[in-house]
Symmetry: C2
Subunit: 471 residues, 2 copies
């Protein structure tokens, strides 16, 4: 059931000033659908006109689904009376994400306009680190004291009528406490009860007896990837976030987990391609940022690759005698880079997903040795056939040299393929063992390392066949 | 709050035959925690002993969180009386995932042992394609007829006491229908109501009036990635799946979306690294499968790379005269591969996330042209400095040649870097336009293409400076 395109309909209603029609549309459609219909087609003024036709809660819901640049444009003038009200009704994590993108001047005017509670909440969330659990959590969640009965609890939830789906897990919190300095401390998290269990429970049962006390909770300082991992492992809709004393700070919800997994995958892909992660959409990211995220790695790889020049210079004498050797270098080297890139991609991803740990290094080595030998043998045979039958140039008039060259390629392709595979498989584990991110072992990086060793392998094999006199 | 390690405790209880203790533990802990505690430490017999201490619903919940190999081992003997009961209580998508992994003999015995309804359900789900919405959906969901009041609906849900969290979205279905051939047809999906709205609604309001009729639904034949995208865009906990007539078939839940996003990211990473996607965990995948997923690409790249040999052979005369040119080839070629790998990684991921569409090709080209020129200029200067000051060998005794060589490297590194960038940025878009997966433009593939053109650029630049007589 694909929903039709509402954009023309909305435009007509705006032109005819059909407030009732606009209101009905905003309330009936999913806010994401409304946001999609207006995002590319209406001006900021028109969008405010549309939003003005509905209640502020629906306004906030639609606003949350608009693209970030449009959100920034819409709140650019904080003196617009609707802005502060709308910000107050936004979900707490989404609005902090917005605030972080605003110019300081706009951000500060906004803070002055919202009410006290919201201001404190926004400031608190603003402080958490970008990649931490605190940075993705939200402070709107449902909670109850442990002393209510199930029936009282349902009545209380009805009265609070919490926004959206934060009602499905209800956190049971202790009495309010004071900090040593007199300020309010977060209430201690005692347990959690799902709305399902609350509905199914006997009416007079106490929350204290119904609640689940074995809680899976996150510290606000943990890595945001941990939150996604925990939500994924337990199939939770939300996980609570606590401070070092078990005080409730907020929750991370399933949709945040989805965003985190997508973002982390993007970063892993970029690292694997030799790019430092880029913040934001590809087409929106500043050109300067894109340049920076690439130039550092390109320069590092370029400088590392210079080792190949020294390695080659070492064999210039051999090259001068048998120039045909030079023409096969890119072919032979590429095998190591490709095989290494495959192995490092597989092992790096397996490390990221915890399918492989550092202590499994020997199992990985054994597997890659088997697979590497099989791959190397296949390519060696291909190299043998290819060199014997299709090498261009006048070497075809010297059958003995052609035979030697064939063996050089077959043997060195085999060795380089195996070596590249082992390098690509082992380096991510070594890097992780040393405490760095295994994704630093990007495909280009493995290719560079494998090029340097590939040259050494290639010329030593060539020396054996052409110059050693052994063959 | 990291939960302690329960494994020793469970082992003790098993040794002392403490059924009450085991039962309490199974019921109090999250099933995922119990599964984690037993997975690596207990034998299949011990696990059955543990499961036997609790009710079959909890058994199924714990079983679902065990690793796939262990699940297979546990049900390997279908004559064990607990097996069929446990399968009947498993969530419908998880058990089909398990069935798909079982040997045919075990699968068929199991089908004979479960009751009629479950057998039909298992067979139906078994048929859907691996990568489709049908392949990840589950058939356990809550539903109601449209004619009930809110109070009646809550009573009915209480009586059904549906498992787990499928209670939060309740689907409103029409009366049962017959197919033309007399068999039962799926009931038509009329609307959806969240448990939150049901709780907050007036007791006597009719479901028909409360339900949301603008439904975001998926067809069972759509790509599973679409399900993840839809769940992510609307922040839903679940999305309904329908047949071509709007008949309700099942739901896809938020935890499936998380799995899909993780799996798709893994596949994208593997393709980017030049590996055909591998099914299952790295350490579990069969060596033959791992070899196959790599050898095809390695061989294709190897054969494509042979073009470099022909390109080089073309310039053998120049090489024989200025052998030092050969020593710098790997350095110059690597620049194109690295720059191309960066660009293709960024563009491929942006295409996958819909941040870039084919129609944006010109914006991408313009951006990459700017960034590419900046990157190329940086590397050109590095190449210039590096060649002039650090080239090894006797060329240092011929200042005029050293100067020429310096210009060859500076100019060709600049051109190759820019060319690699544009190749890497444009090819994924071209491939997508042609209807293929842009991830086919893996880092090794771009590197290979860039190597071939890099050789042509390099030797033409060298010809200008060394042989043309123009300089």
């Amino acid at each position: 059931m694909p929903h039709p395109l509402y954009s023309p309909e909305i435009r007509d209603m705006l032109e005819q000033n059909d407030a009732a029609g606009l209101a009905a549309l905003c309330e009936e459609l999913h806010p994401a659908t409304v946001a999609e219909a207006v995002a590319d087609t209406l001006s900021a003024d028109q969008i405010w006109h549309l939003l003005g036709s509905t209640d502020v809660r629906t306004q906030a819901a639609i606003f949350e689904y608009l693209p970030a640049e449009l959100q920034i444009e819409l709140v650019a003038d904080p003196s617009r009376p609707q802005v502060a009200k709308l910000i107050e009704k936004m979900s707490h994590d989404d609005r902090v994400d917005l605030l972080k993108k605003l110019p300081r001047r706009v951000y500060e005017s906004l803070l002055r306009l919202v009410d006290d509670v919201d201001r404190r909440d926004m400031k608190a969330l603003f402080e958490y680190g970008e990649n931490t659990v605190g940075g993705i959590m939200t402070t709107d969640y449902s909670w109850l004291p442990p002393t209510l009965t199930a029936a009282e609890a349902i009545d209380q939830l009805r009265a609070q009528a919490p926004d959206k789906e934060t009602i499905y897990y209800i956190y049971v919190l202790d009495e309010a406490k004071k900090r040593a300095d007199g300020g309010p401390a977060p209430r201690t998290l005692l347990g959690v009860i799902s709305l399902r269990d609350l509905i199914l429970a006997p009416r007079h049962a106490l929350i204290r007896d119904l609640m689940e006390e074995e809680i899976v909770a996150l510290k606000f300082t943990e890595d945001r990837a941990t939150a996604a991992d925990r939500l994924g492992r337990y199939d939770f809709i939300a996980v609570p976030v606590v401070d070092e004393n078990g005080g409730m700070l907020g929750i991370v919800t399933h949709d945040d987990a989805l965003d985190v997994v997508t973002q982390e995958a993007t970063e892993d892909l970029q690292r694997q391609g030799g790019v430092s992660p880029i913040v934001g959409d590809y087409l929106q990211a500043g050109l300067r940022q894109v340049w920076q995220s690439r130039v550092v790695w390109l320069a590092v790889l370029f400088i590392a690759q210079m080792a190949t020049v020294y390695a080659m210079a070492h064999y210039e004498g051999e090259l001068a005698k048998v120039t045909v050797l030079a023409t096969l270098i890119p072919l032979c080297l590429s095998v190591g880079g490709n095989a290494g890139s495959q192995a490092s991609t597989l092992v790096t991803r397996a490390l990221a997903l915890d399918q492989v740990r550092v202590k499994d290094w020997f199992r990985v080595l054994r597997r890659e040795l088997v697979v590497g030998v099989a791959l190397a043998a296949t390519l060696g045979v291909l190299g043998l056939a290819r060199t014997y039958f299709t090498t261009p140039g006048d070497i075809n008039n010297r059958p003995a040299d052609l035979l030697k060259l064939t063996w050089v390629i077959a043997v060195s392709v085999t060795l380089i393929c195996l070596w590249g595979t082992l390098l690509g498989a082992m380096l991510p584990i070594v890097i992780k063992k040393l405490g760095f991110d295994p994704a630093l072992m990007s495909s280009p990086f493995i290719a560079t390392l494998s090029d340097v060793s590939g040259i050494v392998i290639y010329f030593n094999v060539a020396w054996v066949f052409f110059f050693s006199g052994w063959v």
